[in-house]
């Protein structure tokens, strides 16, 4: 499309840039406000306004958020929960990605009777509102002794993430010509050899997409965190919500904002560093509808 449009006609182009820049401001301002507020003192917040720069830049909001703020009953800041989220996210991302890779491989190159139906099941599973599985899942975790544990959360995220990762890998492998697999079979390669020696080396882009997408989804999750974990095994999203919404004493918005920044940093950093994979994940899942 872009090669057809001439870049002429001044007035309308000014208007276009104007709108785009305005939109960019609208998207950026909340982040700006979040940052700026986090570096203020509570006094500053009360006397100043949202967009004003700090009269005195201070990191007290950050230190409090990290180690002193109250998240419900405890008042040890969110640092512990920050690490909880890592302990939960990393294994869940790795396991769901690996399962997705193998599943995608089978569903694209080793189809069997019923494999399309299985894929349909998975696809539908991407749409299901998790409300319908919360209660039974909680019961099962209890029975397995995994209630309120990080392991339990990992299990939950794997189960409900594998449908997406399988979708990614399956769509990626479908685009790889079947002739490649046929040639390998004739060369004598079997199921696993073909996967490890031929497909896997070609899979770096989709691995990145899956890892980054899963990381973002799992780190940002709140629903599973609040239902299946409480107290020590909470992820940071739950801790953040508790911190912000517990109304003991005076609200310290600088602490709130700092805590929000801390919770947002990992996925933001991932987005800035490897954003293109994130976008591929967004559009890959949706183009199939």
């Amino acid at each position: 499309m872009t090669d057809v449009v001439r870049t002429g006609f001044r007035p309308s182009r000014v208007a276009i840039y104007g709108v785009l820049l305005l939109a960019a401001l609208v998207y950026m301002i909340p982040l700006f406000i979040m940052l700026v507020t986090s570096f203020k003192t509570p006094m500053d917040i009360r006397t100043g306004n949202l967009m004003a720069l700090p009269a005195d830049w201070t990191t007290i909001g950050w230190t409090k958020a990290w180690s002193e703020a109250c998240t419900g009953v405890e008042c040890n800041g969110i640092s512990g929960y920050f690490w909880n989220s890592f302990k939960m996210t990393v294994p869940a991302v790795l396991i769901s990605t690996l399962l997705g890779a193998f599943n995608g491989y089978v569903l694209s190159k080793w189809k069997f009777k019923g494999s399309d139906l299985f894929f349909g099941m998975l696809l539908f599973g991407c749409f299901v509102p998790f409300q319908v599985v919360l209660l039974p899942m909680a019961a099962t975790l209890g029975q397995l002794g995994l209630a309120n544990t990080t392991t339990g959360l990992v299990l939950v995220h794997v189960i409900y993430g594998v449908a997406f990762t399988t979708l990614f890998f399956r769509n990626y492998y479908v685009a790889i010509p079947d002739a490649l697999i046929k040639a390998a079979r004739l060369d004598g390669a079997g199921f696993f050899t073909i996967f490890f020696r031929i497909l896997l080396p070609m899979s770096t882009p989709i691995f990145m997409v899956s890892l980054i997408w899963q990381f973002t989804q799992i780190w940002n999750d709140f629903l599973f965190g609040v239902v299946f974990a409480s107290g020590d095994s909470q992820p940071i999203t739950v801790a953040l919500n508790n911190l912000v919404n517990t109304s003991t004493g005076v609200k310290e918005y600088n602490v709130d904002m700092a805590a929000a920044m801390i919770a947002a940093l990992p996925t933001l950093v991932v987005y800035i560093v490897a954003g293109k994979y994130f976008i591929r994940g967004l559009t890959a899942g949706s183009v199939k509808g």
């Binding site: 276009i16 089978v106 919360l134 004598g188 199921f191 629903l223 999203t237 953040l240 954003g275 949706s286």
Partner: protein, 308 residues
């Protein structure tokens, strides 16, 4: 004439019946764990919740059968009705706004913009944030005393008032604002990709025919992007129906329950208010809403395929 020296055939292993059989089963074995996980974790649990929705369970599951009692209770439950209406308002406004903003931004970005990549990155970063973070930030921005209102006052609009967050009639619209801020970039990305995929020869033909650019967009390009529209609506509707995190962070369903949504209702009744049966029924209705969305969509997709 060079004759090929036939090397004694050395195969990896002698053709073994056992190994060949294993190879045939290997694909199925590999997907079996996922099959079990999904079968139980999604379909099994869905069934279980369905069963519970027909019981009178409160704090603990009780497996009596009370027919459609819980569903009837929902229909007369003020809070559920508010939540459902809210979903309609929120969902409708959310989808429309995201579509409008997303399409406009995509079209503008498609006009050979310098620094397009940087601008796209800015539009999309909110999608990388947790809804809790988004909710927390917007809750602060719209803070009745220290937020937007105070900012406007400090900037000179002294009569400006913005207490929507604590106003039970207007609070739902604050949720819409935050959600649109987060998700409109995603719609933009979808449409930009779609626009880029449009066949440029059709556009060239239109320009040779004398059509102006806005007309080309309106009559030719946007209609050809119908599939993208549907995709976007599907995903946005899905987000809307599942919305839980955002509400919990911004208003926790309040003031009162004026910003309640089905997902919040379900959570509250199942896990804090000890009404499992009612909560399960609400979950099943949410599932119904999603089904009502996907099934026609899939049906129309399949019908179109058969048409070709």
């Amino acid at each position: 004439m060079e004759h090929i020296q036939r090397r004694p055939v050395r195969v990896a292993r002698a053709p073994s019946r056992l190994l060949d059989g294993l190879q045939r089963w290997l694909p199925k074995l590999v997907v079996a764990p996922t099959f079990v996980l999904i079968g139980v974790g999604i379909y099994g649990y869905m069934l279980w919740t369905g069963v519970l929705s027909f019981t009178s369970s409160s704090f603990l599951p009780v497996y009596d059968f009370v027919g459609f009692d819980q569903y009837a209770k929902l229909m007369t439950n003020d809070r559920w009705l508010t939540a459902s209406v809210n979903l309609g308002i929120f969902g409708g406004l959310f989808i429309l706004s995201c579509l409008l903003i997303g399409v406009v931004l995509a079209i503008f970005l498609d006009q050979k913009i310098r620094q397009e990549g940087a601008i796209r990155t800015i539009y999309l970063y909110p999608m990388a944030l947790s809804m809790i973070v988004t909710g927390t930030v917007w809750k602060w921005i719209l803070n009745p005393s220290l937020g937007l209102e105070k900012l406007m006052h400090d900037w000179g609009w002294t009569s400006f008032s913005f207490d929507w967050l604590v106003n039970s009639d207007m609070a739902i619209y604050t949720i819409v604002m935050a959600a649109v801020w987060q998700a409109s970039g995603f719609v933009m990305a979808l449409f930009l990709a779609g626009l880029r995929g449009v066949d440029s020869s059709i556009i060239r033909a239109a320009r040779v025919d004398g059509a102006s650019l806005p007309l080309i967009y309106w009559k030719i390009i946007l209609p050809s992007l119908r599939p993208v529209f549907f995709s976007a609506v599907m995903v946005l509707a899905h987000i809307a129906i599942k919305s839980f995190d955002l509400v919990m962070a911004m208003t926790a369903g309040g003031p009162g329950y004026s910003t309640d949504l089905p997902a919040v209702f379900m959570y509250a009744h199942t896990f804090t208010r000890g009404q499992m049966g009612l909560g399960s029924a609400s979950a099943m209705l949410m599932l119904g809403a999603i089904l009502a969305l996907i099934v026609p969509y899939l049906y129309s997709e399949l019908r179109e395929k058969r048409h070709d």
